[in-house]
């Protein structure tokens, strides 16, 4: 119950923000917003002890029974980690943003979006029902869109927002298709039920496609190669947003999805290879490209891509443990997943701190271009310390938490070389080498952040504002994160025991009780441990590469290393727009006549085609009532009147002929025993004719239609076909009575409604709502007529419209 509430609290708070903002029109509003994530964080943290004992919590609101969609929340170790990150980092980011954003910004809007995102993200990690997950998933994309475009007057912001929206939402739709396939196979939308049942469906043809489509959703959201291109452009968002959405939480939704689905797809060879190799390549490509960035925020964006790739690849490697027939030694591969979860937490701490540092630089100095920064250590000692801690942790150096998870990453890679599944063979070695190279580049760009910004020559003339330390309030949030970076290094096992152990049980439900699923984290593995040797190698080669960067910079201009996926994306987008414009112009001509032609042609083809195709045109004339001579006469009169309307030379004769039709119908109503109708028809016909005549006073007399003979013939054909089909259809319906008439019911009108006129009781009692809405239609039409005429008088009076 608490969990379901925690999803809705941010949404509720978002509703009240605009009212609050009217009262407190200053940055102080941030303090009230801060309460939301803080309270949620405390509430969720209180679950840590019981979750650590292995308990889980579910709560269900029954919702759409027929479709199997229920609002079920599920709290286990995995969702707990993510929810703590969402609320914890969320609190720090809001604290930071209070000082970061100026009071001239529309703060109310900013916090509404942020709270929307928080609620949606909590919804993603807590929901058990896949349809609900999907809705929240897209809601995070939408709030991300709104936040990236927060400074919507800038063209780049709008471009970045559109790009991220297009990529993540198309991935989301692929994921939805995957979810529906899972439902088709297993008959349920509940993740837990699918996990329990999936074993018997792994051979179904849909299983493979469901896996691919769901991975597509995860990869687009988590910015994996080649979908990573939206993340650097998303950096147009205000820095607190980048720190929150685009490094700590939203981009990890894809990782969450992969973790959540590991019990379903894990152990499959395709899953293992796709997730691991996409992850490893993203890790390499991201870190390689990060080095060449000159904008610190773009550098961090690529570094985030690379780190997400690292976590992703670890989940891929860890999935091997679930392969059946390999349980004895499989525990050792599960440690990759352990490392992934651990690095996930660590990454949020050090990357969040680094983003906030870059935000401080941007805010205080007005630039974040590394070429213009330098020598800032003396001016900004606290910022420098935080940057140092964050970067060294990212580079994998002790005594920071990044070192621990990086070592575990290397160990997992070394272990995979011994995997006797999936014909690993040389692939294991390739993974190892590529990942090691990527770590070298990671080391290089981490050094760039520290040394090029804070050491070297101070260039005051290239900086827009005077350099000084940031205000205290801005430093609090990154300092807390930096304390975590160091603290986790010294007490890693408290995280391991309380957060990671239950999460591992969630990812490996079948191995939950197994010995050694969650290892003790140790910093020192002995001098001969391969992981340590690899780290030392990274430091040596990385230092050399950093020192001589200007000599090898040239490789970024060599194909295929300089390939730019953005250009391809943009070209595609323009092509799509042009093509859709072209096709739309083909049929959206802007002439009323064409649209009417479309409507009736569709009617003719579909209804006429259906009648012909099913061959259901059977007529039965036996029940026909007899026809008298005057009725024949009237029918003839109507036919002649109707036909002459088409050839009427003046509009006056046309309207009189229309009147003939109307009064003839009134006559038929009399014949058909409908006195009320006959009266109404006669009155309405009179008023309508008067209206037409009134209108003619203002309109020009009509000219003869001068359309080409071909058009006339085509119009005639369409008209003839439509009329024929209506006749055939109506005759067919009369010939086949499939249901008993319900009209007998209304003949008790005196008992039921107290009226003897059945038609009146239907209108005034049985279907009174109908009549009420009919009155509403009349009312609307009346308003329309009134406004249209009223506007005219003003125009004549004061030339109002032309102003």
């Amino acid at each position: 119950m608490t969990i379901s509430l925690s999803i809705f609290i941010p949404f509720l708070a978002a509703i009240f923000v605009p009212f609050l903002y009217k009262r407190i029109h200053s940055r102080k509003i941030g303090w009230f917003i801060l309460l939301v994530p803080l309270v949620l964080f405390a509430a969720l943290a209180s679950f840590i002890p019981s979750i650590a004992k292995g308990e889980t919590y579910t709560h269900t609101f029954r919702w759409i029974e027929s479709a199997g969609i229920h609002f079920t929340t599920y709290l286990d170790g995995l969702s707990l980690i993510f929810s703590l990150l969402i609320t914890g980092v969320g609190s720090l980011v809001i604290l930071y943003s209070i000082y970061y954003l100026s009071e001239r910004e529309s703060l109310g809007r900013f916090y509404v979006y942020l709270l929307l995102f928080m609620g949606a993200m909590l919804g993603v990690v807590f929901s058990d029902n896949l349809m609900v997950v999907y809705v929240f998933w897209e809601l995070t994309s939408i709030s991300s869109f709104l936040l990236i475009a927060f400074w919507y007057h800038r063209k780049k912001s709008r471009y970045g927002a559109q790009k991220s929206m297009l990529i993540t939402v198309s991935g989301g739709i692929a994921m939805l298709a995957g979810f529906i396939m899972l439902h088709t196979m297993t008959g349920t939308y509940s993740v837990r039920e699918i996990v329990a049942a999936i074993g018997q469906y792994t051979d179904e043809p849909l299983f493979f496609f469901a896996m691919l489509l769901i991975l597509l959703g995860a990869f687009t959201k988590s910015a994996q190669f080649p979908f990573h291109i939206w993340l650097p452009d998303a950096m147009e968002a205000p820095t607190p947003v980048s720190a929150y959405l685009h490094s700590a939480t939203m981009v990890k939704a894809g990782i969450y999805l992969v973790a959540r689905f590991t019990p379903i797809f894990g152990g499959e060879m395709t899953w293992f290879y796709i997730v691991s190799s996409v992850g490893i390549f993203t890790l390499f490509w991201g870190s390689f490209n990060a080095v060449k960035q000159t904008d610190l925020k773009a550098l961090l964006a690529y570094s985030t891509i690379s780190q997400l790739g690292l976590v992703m690849s670890l989940f891929g490697l860890g999935s091997a443990a679930l392969n059946e027939g390999h349980s004895a030694n499989s525990i050792i591969y599960a440690q990759a997943t352990f490392a992934a979860l651990f690095h996930l937490i660590n990454h949020s701490t050090f990357k969040g701190a680094l983003f906030m540092v870059v935000g401080i630089l941007d805010h205080e100095l007005g630039t974040r271009d590394v070429r213009r920064l330098g020598g800032l250590m003396a001016f900004m000692p606290i910022t420098f310390s935080i940057a140092l801690i964050g970067s060294f942790s990212m580079a994998g150096l002790p005594p920071f938490n990044g070192f621990l998870s990086k070592e575990m990453f290397f160990e997992s890679l070394v272990n995979v070389r011994n995997l006797d599944l999936f014909e690993v063979g040389a692939m294991g070695t390739i993974f190892l080498v590529v990942a090691w190279l990527a770590s070298v580049f990671t080391f290089v760009y981490s050094m760039i952040i520290v040394f090029q910004t804070f050491f070297g020559e101070f260039q005051p003339e290239r900086i827009e504002k005077p350099s000084r330390e940031a205000p205290f309030g801005m430093l609090v949030a990154p300092s807390i994160l930096a304390i975590f970076v160091v603290g986790i290094f010294f007490f890693p096992n408290s995280i391991g025991n309380y957060l990671l152990r239950p999460a591992m049980a969630a990812v490996y439900p079948t191995l939950a009780g197994a010995e050694g699923l969650t290892p003790q984290i140790v910093a020192w593995h002995g001098i001969t441990s391969p992981a340590l040797l690899m780290t030392i190698g990274v430091i040596i080669l990385g230092a050399v590469l950093y020192k001589f960067y200007r000599y090898w910079r040239g490789i970024y201009t060599i194909a295929p290393l300089n390939w730019n996926l953005d250009a391809a994306f943009n070209a595609n987008l323009i092509l799509l727009e042009k093509a859709s414009h072209f096709f739309t112009r083909l049929y959206m001509k802007g002439y009323l006549k064409d649209y009417i032609v479309y409507i009736f042609s569709f009617f003719i083809v579909v209804v006429g085609g259906a009648i012909l195709y099913t061959g259901s045109y059977t007529f039965d004339f036996s029940n026909d009532a007899p026809v008298t001579a005057n009725e024949y006469l009237i029918v003839l009169a109507m036919a002649v009147a109707g036909l002459s309307m088409l050839f009427a030379k003046s509009r006056m004769s046309a309207i009189i002929l229309n009147g003939v039709l109307g009064y003839s119908i009134a006559f038929f109503f009399v014949v058909f025993r409908a006195p009320d109708l006959a009266l109404t028809q006669a009155v309405v016909e009179t008023v309508t004719t008067a209206l037409f005549l009134l209108c003619f006073y203002f309109l020009p007399d009509w000219k003869k239609e001068r359309s080409p003979i071909g058009t006339k013939v085509l119009n005639g054909l369409i008209a003839f076909a439509a009329g024929t089909i209506v006749t055939v259809l109506a005759l067919t319906v009369q010939g086949n009575k499939m249901f008993e008439s319900i009209s007998v019911y209304f003949e008790d009108s005196y008992q039921l409604a107290g009226g003897k006129n059945i038609v009146n009781t239907i209108l005034g009692d049985f279907r009174a709502f109908d009549t009420m809405l009919e009155v509403v239609v009349l009312f609307i039409a009346g308003i329309g007529v009134f406004t249209l005429i009223k506007l005219k008088t003003r125009k004549e009076g004061q030339d109002f419209e032309d102003q």
């Binding site: 009532a625 039709l661 058909f672 309405v684 008023v687 009329g723 239907i762």
Partner: protein, 112 residues
């Protein structure tokens, strides 16, 4: 009788569609008026014709005509009247504003 009426309905629909396809605004509005006439007749015919006396309980007849289509038609007559009135005023305004009642000339801007 039913067959005859149905053929008449088809005929009226044909005329209405032809009028709808023309260029003159007034002819289009006349087309909608004729189309609603056709619809009313069709509804009436579908309920069966001359099958009993008028649906008034005071008549003490053995059987009554189907009252439901009559109620529907009553609603439809009033609504089609409202629509016709609105369309006429709209045509009047359009002519005032643009100076033409030819639909071929009434076309939006290129990049709308």
């Amino acid at each position: 009788m039913e067959t005859l009426m149905t053929i008449l309905v088809g005929f009226l629909v044909m005329i209405a569609v032809y009028l709808l396809l023309s260029r003159n605004l007034i002819r289009v509005i006349l087309g909608t008026a004729v189309l609603s006439h056709a619809a009313h007749l069709l509804l009436m015919t579908m309920g069966g014709l001359k099958k009993g006396s008028a649906p008034l309980l005071g008549e003490n007849a053995e059987s009554y005509t189907d009252a439901l289509p009559q109620a529907l038609i009553l609603t439809a007559i009033v609504i089609s009247f409202a629509v016709t009135a609105f369309l006429l005023v709209l045509a009047y305004r359009t002519y005032k504003k643009t100076g033409t009642d030819n639909l071929q000339e009434l076309r939006g801007f290129e990049d709308e």
